[in-house]
């Protein structure tokens, strides 16, 4: 059938936050004439929009939709991000950077970190971060995009730190150009077919009825369709990830330089973020209400954040977990309606993007849902969530902190078996469990294990083979090369300023 003969599939997106507009723009942009996308949102309903830090994958989304990077950065007040600086997680006073990049290179088939462990044992190695260009560039507030060759300058990646409340509206303009129809209004009823149970339309306060073949639930935590109408079960993960609130508060910049990284600092009942954007710094305390009250948390973030407060702390409530099935009948939940994992590793927008990607790959042909596509979508979404979940739990569990009830709880809790196995393999043999799909590969696990003081008991026997003086020299020249490369990079602000088309007007 030629593409013009087909009846477009009517897609109704509920919710105009980041997930809603990412879904609408993605579907309209890449399925074009095969879909007819309507998005309903209400100006009276706020969006969460705290996902201010992203992962490198976002670049793929922006490029694939043909969005100009400069326009996107300008509209969202974006800065570049090379990684996350974690402070006080393993122990108070200690910190490490989890870069979008690697540490050293493997030699003779043995990963770098084994040689580093051996040299460290002999007192001949510096902090592992000094062997990562991504880490060192971040800490020196330098930025330049990586090279495309196989040299040292290709060993890191980058993402953005941006104002998530501006990302949705930016995509809205783009999506409208792609033909997405925006409807203003509040949904008062999810209408379902009595026989099939499928959702047939959304009834609005205005009396308008939005009919569709496929419904994308981007209504955030309210999950009006997937949770409300379809009562899809929620798998609760709060026993492992007890944080259920965030107190968010923007502040003015205090320094000239803009850090090309996000900072996550452990707090007595959670942790706080610090995300430098072009004009301000986003701050927030992610905490567990079982261990601290909202008022106390708001005072704590106000006391901890540097710079002039630009607004009072705003409290957001959430819970960790995901739907048993994110795609149920003809409703697909994307974003917070589908699941929530706290922003410790900036995975929120990534998980949304992945859901949109899988939906595009598995989009119902001629609007007819095949259960096998639905199962495949749910399998892939579950895998993404589960892998991120284990990695987040590690940040809490791999700690020596015993200075608060909260840290005592997460330090001693029983973790999922899938994580326990990974940690045992690391502890016994210094090895990282491998997988080829999903998020967070070897370097990420190594950064957190070592950064939080979880060292293996033993490392690869082959590290005994080379002359230690030779390894030491190799480590030294890598460090020097990284210092040289870092020195040659422009400062982050300097890099941005030289590309004024990326900068928003000063408010």
């Amino acid at each position: 059938m030629s593409i013009t003969d087909r009846k477009p599939v009517r897609v109704v997106v509920l919710g105009g936050g980041t997930a809603g507009w990412m879904s609408a723009a993605g579907l309209a942009g890449l399925l074009g004439p095969l879909v007819e996308v309507t998005l309903v949102e209400s100006e009276d309903i706020g969006i969460v929009g705290v996902g201010e830090a992203t992962l490198p994958h976002i670049r793929g989304y922006v490029e694939r939709l043909g969005i100009d990077e400069a326009a996107f950065m300008q509209a969202t007040h974006a800065t570049y991000k090379l990684g996350i600086d974690f402070r006080d997680f393993g122990r108070i006073g200690e910190s490490y950077v989890h870069p979008f990049g690697t540490f050293g290179e493997e030699v003779a088939g043995v990963p770098f970190h084994h040689y580093w462990l051996e040299m460290q044992r002999q007192g001949r190695a510096a902090d592992i971060g000094t062997y990562s260009l991504g880490v060192m560039a971040a800490l020196e507030n330098k930025f330049r995009p990586p090279s495309a060759d196989a040299s040292l300058t290709s060993t890191y990646g980058y993402a953005y730190q941006f104002d998530a409340t501006l990302f949705g509206p930016f995509l809205r303009e783009h999506a409208k150009k792609l033909g997405v129809e925006r409807v203003e209004g509040k949904v008062i009823e999810v209408v379902r077919d009595g026989a099939s149970g499928d959702v047939t339309s959304l009834k609005l306060e205005s009396g308008q009825s939005l009919e569709g073949d496929l419904f994308i639930d981007c209504s955030g935590f309210r999950a009006l369709m997937i949770g409300g109408a379809l009562e899809e079960e929620w798998e609760d993960w709060s026993q492992w990830l007890p944080c259920d609130r965030a107190a968010a508060m923007p502040c003015a910049h205090v320094t000239q330089e803009i850090q090309p990284y996000t900072t996550a600092t452990a707090m007595p009942a959670g942790w706080r973020w610090r995300i430098p954007l072009q004009h301000r710094i986003g701050n927030g305390y992610v905490f567990s209400s079982s261990f601290i009250s909202e008022d106390e948390a708001c005072s704590a973030i106000a006391a901890a954040a540097e710079g002039t407060q630009l607004a009072d702390p705003r409290v957001l409530r959430f819970r960790a977990g995901r739907r048993k099935s994110s795609w149920n009948r003809n409703v697909i939940a994307v974003g917070l309606a589908s699941g929530f994992l706290e922003p410790l590793e900036s995975t929120s927008i990534y998980l949304t993007q992945m859901a949109v990607t899988y939906l595009l790959e598995l989009f119902p042909i001629d609007g007819k849902i095949d259960p096998r596509d639905r199962d495949e979508f749910n399998r892939l979404v579950d895998m993404e969530y589960d892998r991120v979940r284990d990695f987040l739990i590690l940040h809490y569990h791999a700690t020596e902190r015993d200075d608060s009830e909260f840290w005592n709880h997460v330090r001693t809790m029983r973790v999922p078996d899938s994580l326990q196995e990974k940690m045992t393999l690391w502890r016994e043999a210094g090895r990282v469990e491998k997988y080829s799909d999903g998020l967070f590969y070897d370097a990420s696990w190594i950064a957190v294990y070592i950064g939080q003081g979880l060292l293996p008991e033993r490392h690869d026997p082959r590290t005994r083979l080379p002359d230690p003086a030779r390894i030491e020299r190799a480590l030294g020249s890598l460090q020097q090369a990284i210092r040289d490369q870092t020195a040659a990079m422009p400062g982050h602000r300097e890099f941005l300023t030289a590309r004024a088309e990326r900068l928003a007007a000063v408010p």
């Binding site: 593409i3 890449l30 399925l31 074009g32 004439p33 095969l34 490198p56 994958h57 670049r59 793929g60 989304y61 490029e63 694939r64 003779a108 088939g109 462990l117 051996e118 460290q120 044992r121 990646g157 992945m354 990607t357 899988y358 595009l360 790959e361 598995l362 989009f363 042909i365 095949d370 096998r372 596509d373 495949e376 892939l380 196995e421 045992t424 393999l425 502890r427 016994e428 043999a429 210094g430 090895r431 469990e433 491998k434 997988y435 080829s436 799909d437 060292l455 293996p456 008991e457 033993r458 490392h459 690869d460 026997p461 082959r462 590290t463 005994r464 083979l465």
Partner: protein, 482 residues
């Protein structure tokens, strides 16, 4: 404080076929101070690796890493290059199509979607290629392996090798000798168990007890060491793979070709490898066909008919014994998949190389990944019997959930899901499924993409032209090499 583990003092490799010798070379390179003994045992009547010399592109990378030079393989071991496997009859009597190797086998570049979008090794919605660079070059008889020079139009092209097995083994034995690897011939008379489910020593005829920290079982399908262990259990693949015998013809006339062929016969798939030492024809035989039928399907009188029982060890690494190759998984030796699997097992062992003692967690990790590798290799074989005409001829075969999912997705949507520890890239799977005559469904993303594809077509034609101009006639290149 993390301590380095003790290096293994001694490792015994049982079996001196090509895999045993290659494993010993790999261990010598990785552990120069460890004493290595290769123990030759009586040859395995079912060891196909001894006869069928071909693999997939992964092996080229492993050889390179172990300093087994490709040029020397061409000079000393009769090696030649396969750019495509051409399949006949998977989709019906008149259907034929070729499948190549590498991420760029898909000239339509629909997979670019996944790459650009995800930025990593992600799922791809593939439309199987109507043509590939490999097919163009194989058709023109032009090829030379590129030397990695940037900008070479042959850079994206991957290939597999085929070689003469005795010459290949001889070359490896020569290397092993130069590397000081001990080699002894003695039958195994018994074992002394250790306390942790492994072997403390083995008793060899005329040599007494031989103790070691680690034993590699490369003794072929008999798995002489592994099968001795009390925990050894097998997973049966009889319900997935129909082949019960393998018929091998006398070598035919020498050939120089860039393509090999696989043809569906009433008894199973016949594989023809264009060896410089002679055309090699082998046939997987299902059921209880007589000699005449086998002769007809093989296209030549069978020189040998060997019984075959597909399956794998539940856990290839038990105690301090690691089974490799046929000892770990008995997989039809077709199209290079069996050698490919053996070589990826060896690479996995190098990655997770233990110290003097074995940790339970790394053994578990090895077994987890080796099992996935073996299962995906089993899927590779099973795909051939899922081709439309094959499925009619061999009904009722089971499929793993992963294979069923891949076939379903391909047939309905032209999508090949990514699988962990798979022998092939999603693009290569897509190309193979298409060559096997699998109908492929519509990819909505391709359908919705702007343009009619003529631009991609033009770009491919340009690439093909550049590749043809850069590659000499294969025979000419071969002459220069020799």
């Amino acid at each position: 404080m993390s301590e380095p583990r003790e290096l293994p003092a001694r490792i015994v490799v049982a079996g001196d076929g090509p895999l045993g010798v290659l494993a010993a070379i790999a261990l010598r390179r990785a552990l120069p101070t460890t004493e290595l003994l290769v123990l030759a045992v009586a040859p395995d009547p079912g060891a196909f690796a001894e006869r069928i010399g071909t693999a997939l592109p992964f092996t080229n990378r492993l050889h390179d890493r172990l300093q087994v030079s490709e040029d020397e393989l061409v000079r000393q071991a009769g090696a030649s290059h396969r750019l495509v496997m051409r399949y006949f009859g998977g989709g019906g009597p008149d259907q034929q199509s070729a499948a190549g190797y590498g991420a760029a086998v898909d000239p339509a570049m629909t997979t670019a979607f996944a790459k650009e979008w995800g930025g990593g090794p992600r799922n791809a919605g593939t439309t199987a290629p109507p043509r590939s660079l490999g097919e163009v070059l194989a058709g023109a008889g032009r090829f030379a392996p590129h030397s990695g020079e940037p900008g070479s139009p042959l850079l994206d092209l991957d290939y597999a090798l085929r070689w003469n097995v005795p010459a290949y083994r001889q070359m490896l034995v020569g290397m092993a000798g130069q590397l000081g690897i001990q080699h002894a011939r003695a039958d195994i008379r018994g074992f002394m168990p250790d306390v942790s489910g492994g072997i403390a020593s083995l008793v060899a005829e005329g040599m007494g007890e031989i103790a070691a920290d680690l034993f590699l079982d490369c003794t072929g399908s008999r798995a002489l060491l592994h099968s001795y262990l009390p925990e050894a259990r097998q997973i049966d693949w009889h319900d997935m793979h129909p082949t019960r015998r393998i018929a091998i013809a006398e070598a035919g006339r020498p050939m120089l070709a860039l393509e090999d062929r696989a043809t569906l016969t009433p008894l199973g798939w016949r594989w023809e490898l264009a060896g410089r030492d002679g055309l090699q024809s082998i046939l997987g035989v299902a059921g209880d066909a007589g000699d005449e039928a086998i002769h007809a399907a093989l296209g030549a009188p069978p020189a040998q008919i060997v019984p075959f029982s597909p399956g794998r060890a539940e856990a290839a690494w038990l105690g301090n014994v690691v089974a490799l190759g046929d000892a770990a998984a008995r997989i039809e030796p077709f199209g290079g998949i069996a050698q490919d699997l053996a070589h990826r097992q060896l690479a996995l062992l190098l990655e997770l190389l233990p110290g003097r003692t074995v940790d339970a967690s790394e053994r578990a990790e090895y077994n987890r990944r080796a099992a996935m590798m073996a299962d995906r290799a089993a899927d590779w074989i099973a795909v051939h019997y899922a081709a439309p005409a094959a499925a009619k001829a061999f009904p009722g075969l089971q499929q793993s959930p992963e294979l069923a999912r891949m076939l379903d997705q391909f047939v309905r949507r032209s999508r090949t899901p990514i699988a962990e520890d798979s022998p092939m890239l999603v693009q290569e799977w897509g190309a193979m499924l298409q060559a096997l005559g699998m109908p492929s469904g519509e990819s909505l993303l391709s359908a919705a993409a702007s343009g009619d594809g003529s631009e991609t077509g033009r770009a491919f034609a340009q690439k093909a032209e550049a590749a043809l101009a850069a590659a000499p006639p294969y025979g000419e290149w071969m002459e220069r090499m020799l």
